[in-house]
Symmetry: C2
């Protein structure tokens, strides 16, 4: 990573307002630099679900309240997003939110059930169901939080995010979380027009939501196609990837780095490395070295410590992290992260210790 490589975004921050942090303090942050393949003085680190149930202060703030209500409460979003910055000193703040937030804001009957996940009032399996998904409604509570956060965080970037069309479609079609995605795949295979109309609708909705987050101050965004790994490469390429590309492309004019992420995507990495993103996330099921080979040299990578490592003690965490930092040196740029989200039972001190350790390491040199 010693060589300054070219920026993949044609015009960084091109479509952003003058006072956007990416045109100021976050431009030279390790996160943005690594995303663009520029040289860094340390490997940036943040964690998916860093703002969440592993933190006692999160549990205290949230109490027994409703998850989606919390996601639409400015003070709650701001406070929870800041908690891991204060505690762990990570290099980016990821907005406290959920991938179904834009669905809620589009009038979809969705709740987040404790211990289950997002549950729909009724599954979406026909044209009427697709038509009932409205435009993005009021998300001003969320954009207000992003503005507060960027003001407070100065040179620490805020990462906005949304779910990818496939992953959101799977929740809508199944009516909730799934392991097998039977109805989702059935519609994908046997009703291609219905499928396309749903994914196009979601692409538009999520594009609007991403745009709002970016214009309010997010310096990078991440697309979560969490369940894409359930698909064969052929199905992914034909029926899913074009929609994800359209979504990523829809915010290209704004010029912020875009991370493309999924779980169990070892087979899909070569295809996820599209020109419409700057960074590809790698989960823990492949070694980062293998992931980098598959992603190639036109993208930076993010990942890929196993979230389970925090249960094995600090020595084991450091052993695995060191391996990942070394492997990351072969990439255009490397953002340290987990392969998936922080598990709720994780001891937060383990996370803090890892961040401290990572910040003491010199950026790795390619072998």
């Amino acid at each position: 990573m010693a060589v300054l490589t070219s920026v993949s975004l044609s015009e960084l921050g091109a479509g952003l307002p003058e006072n956007h942090p990416l045109r100021g303090p976050t431009r030279t942050s390790p996160l943005v630099a690594a995303a663009l393949g520029e040289s860094v003085d340390r490997t940036p680190v943040w964690f998916m679900r860093q703002a969440g149930r592993s933190l006692p202060e999160y549990r205290a703030t949230r109490g027994d309240g409703d998850m989606l209500e919390a996601c639409f409460t400015t003070e709650m979003v701001t406070e929870i997003t800041l908690q891991p910055i204060r505690r762990h000193g990570v290099d980016a703040a990821v907005l406290f939110s959920d991938i179904v937030v834009p669905l809620k804001a589009a009038g979809v009957d969705v709740t987040i059930k404790k211990g289950v996940g997002p549950v729909m009032g009724s599954p979406v399996r026909d044209a009427a169901g697709v038509a009932a998904i409205g435009e993005l409604g009021d998300v001003s509570a969320i954009t207000a939080a992003v503005r507060q956060l960027t003001a407070e965080l100065d040179d620490i970037p805020v990462i906005g995010f949304c779910g990818a069309p496939f992953t959101l479609a799977s929740y809508l079609i199944e009516g909730g979380p799934s392991r097998e995605f039977a109805h989702t795949k059935a519609i994908m295979w046997s009703q291609p027009e219905l499928w396309s109309s749903l994914l196009e609708r979601l692409t538009k909705l999520c594009g609007q939501f991403l745009r709002e987050q970016i214009l309010a101050g997010a310096s990078a965004i991440q697309l979560f196609d969490s369940w894409a790994g359930a698909l064969s490469p052929a199905d992914y390429i034909t029926s899913v990837l074009p929609h994800s590309r359209a979504l990523l492309d829809s915010v290209a004019d704004l010029g912020v780095p875009r991370v493309h992420f999924g779980v169990g995507t070892g087979e899909l990495l070569p295809f996820m490395a599209v020109p419409e993103c700057e960074v590809v996330g790698v989960d823990q099921r492949v070694s980062l070295a293998t992931g980098i080979e598959r992603i190639g040299s036109n993208h930076s990578v993010q990942g890929n410590l196993d979230p389970a490592s925090f249960f094995a003690g600090a020595a084991e965490v450091q052993r695995q992290a060191a391996q990942i930092v070394r492997a990351g040196a072969a990439a255009r740029g490397h953002i340290f992260n987990l392969g998936h989200g922080v598990l709720p039972q994780t001891d937060p001190d383990q996370i803090t210790r890892l961040v401290e350790w990572l910040h003491q390491q010199p950026p790795a040199e390619a072998d």
Copy 2:
């Protein structure tokens, strides 16, 4: 598959009693022939979980009774195992059982909770927990069922099975089903001696159980390492595969074909193709063509229709099945199956139609 290739087992049926079906009627069955890479006049087909909740006659037989009790009731096991043979005309009967049956027979406090899966009275996370797993107790109700089945089924092979040491260990350590396997991996990484002692104990126990099933009449066995796909190749190779090999090897002297199966194992297939098995199972996340490339020409393959395809209508099922049959021609031998188990909500008529269609196809020729 037109060429008769050599048998990978050094002595087929070597250790079996004279009256064992593999020394008689099942020897020339399409299933056994395909497993050994011999020429077949049709592609054999069976389905994981073919004897299960998709069948109304299964639900009627089981009623509200306890799952593990059913697994230890001879008449129940025999009847349920036969149901998909009668209805679908599949080419093999897979014993109605569960991977935790040998644990139950070894005195472990395990129940199968409806809608959840296997749940342990207390998780096994220390040496005392490992020591409390006894020897294989009385499985005579099960072996009696195997004997009844083989007598009735004549030239249709009965497939016995057991869980692989890793997958069983994950249930024991987590205390139930898991998505993240945090405690399992933590012990694997940080307590290698405890890990080895647990997996060795399970290897011995499952080896005893497989032996009982084979001696009672099973003409083939399958090792279910269902959750191996949660591991990186490095961890799999170091901490898991040696135990699976030892287990498969422990019944080598009997000389029945052995299938090695897991879910989400695309990355692991080259390593799962060990000399101690004749067939490697391929799940639906990789194309069968890719699976065969990774497995090589010393093994037959089994798979890999997506269980979700049955929800997309007969035309789509046949389209996908035809692709799989064509791809299978490149393998040493091909046993048609799903990539994972039949889903409970599957329309059983779809399964029957697929079997009829498959049986009308000539065996595919390699391109």
